[in-house]
Symmetry: C2
Subunit: 209 residues, 2 copies
């Protein structure tokens, strides 16, 4: 297909596609003349994924390029691909500080109690440890043990999440779906929690209608 | 106590306390001289709550004033207070558009299927409906039925959340804790989900170590 059809089918403007081509997020098409090239279904899937990583996942172009290269090199290792897509990503949280031998952090304790297999570099570790620290500074009871029931519910949520990928055979498409579902579902999960809190509060403390 | 001790005990700078006094987030202390006033434990709790609403919850000063006024007027209605603290709050999401009689939205369908009691004006409704729309635009299967298992897990999360408030008798303190736990726990819950996804992915697709 021509670039115009690629644009129409992906919903990505031609100018953006040209930018992605220059930045090597998308491989060049097969040149059919000095000014035209032909693209195929692989380009379409890759373009949608690149677009999702940049706009939905909020990655920089250079990190997106890195993730997409990883995809090319490890396209049979689904676990690695999913890790790249949802984990190998700066969350804006600070790195845990490392000075000399360390006590296990609250996140380490929780992960070990859950028997989870989590990368040492996962930025999620710092999120857990730092937030518990903030809660404690504010005078609230907050230890990792209190997170165990939440972690158990997270396990069941994650199983639901991964079930949604089982029927997607193509690795690029599977990763695209993992990114979209992981990221886009985040506000929904938080909204469901707030709704459920409102409902639980009505049940416990509500005045009769 | 003097304003300096109020500052020390709350961790809120004196300049900020003076600003909150001017903005009526905090009631005036009892004047002990032309330039000094005396504050009590009630001021301390209210200051901590105001601070949490502004810095943690990200409310504007005027919305915070509104929430705190609501607290003063409804201090025995815990459900109303919790609603103010966690619900009556713009989330930056657009209001659902209202033009004439409407089909029930996906959020309405979900809420009704769950038997939840949720305010018609809850901004969480639009979050759910809009995100499902975005997922569908991206070509992913996304209907409200797919959210039911997530909603069931959210119910259990919310029950854990409200359990943590049961032992707090003072209404101001209970609302403060509700705000802090609801908001501050959000990144932790998302981090737990990512960790659990990583672990589930390792279990399903991981290469043997």
């Amino acid at each position: 297909m021509r670039i115009s059809e690629l644009s129409r089918r992906s919903g990505v403007p031609v100018a953006t596609i040209k930018y992605y081509l220059r930045e090597e997020l998308l491989p060049a098409g097969v040149a059919t003349s000095a000014t035209q090239a032909e693209y195929d279904e692989h380009h379409l899937r890759r373009l949608r994924l690149a677009r999702a990583l940049v706009t939905v996942r909020g990655l920089s172009v250079s990190t997106t390029r890195e993730v997409l290269r990883g995809l090319d090199e490890h396209s049979t290792d689904i676990h690695f691909l999913l890790g790249l897509a949802v984990g190998a990503v700066p969350t804006g949280e600070p790195e845990p500080s490392v000075d000399g031998p360390q006590e296990p952090s609250p996140a380490d304790e929780l992960i070990s109690a859950m028997g989870w297999e989590i990368s040492d570099k996962a930025p999620t570790r710092a999120v857990v440890t730092d937030t518990l620290g903030t809660l404690r500074e504010l005078g609230l009871p907050a230890d990792w043990q209190a997170l165990v029931p939440y972690a158990e519910l997270a396990e069941r949520t994650a199983a639901l999440d991964l079930d949604k990928l089982e029927d997607v055979p193509d690795p690029l498409e599977r990763v695209e779906r993992a990114v979209l579902l992981t990221i886009l579902m985040e506000p929904v999960l938080l909204a469901l929690r707030r709704m459920a809190q409102e409902n639980e509060s009505a049940k416990r403390y509500g005045l009769p209608a």
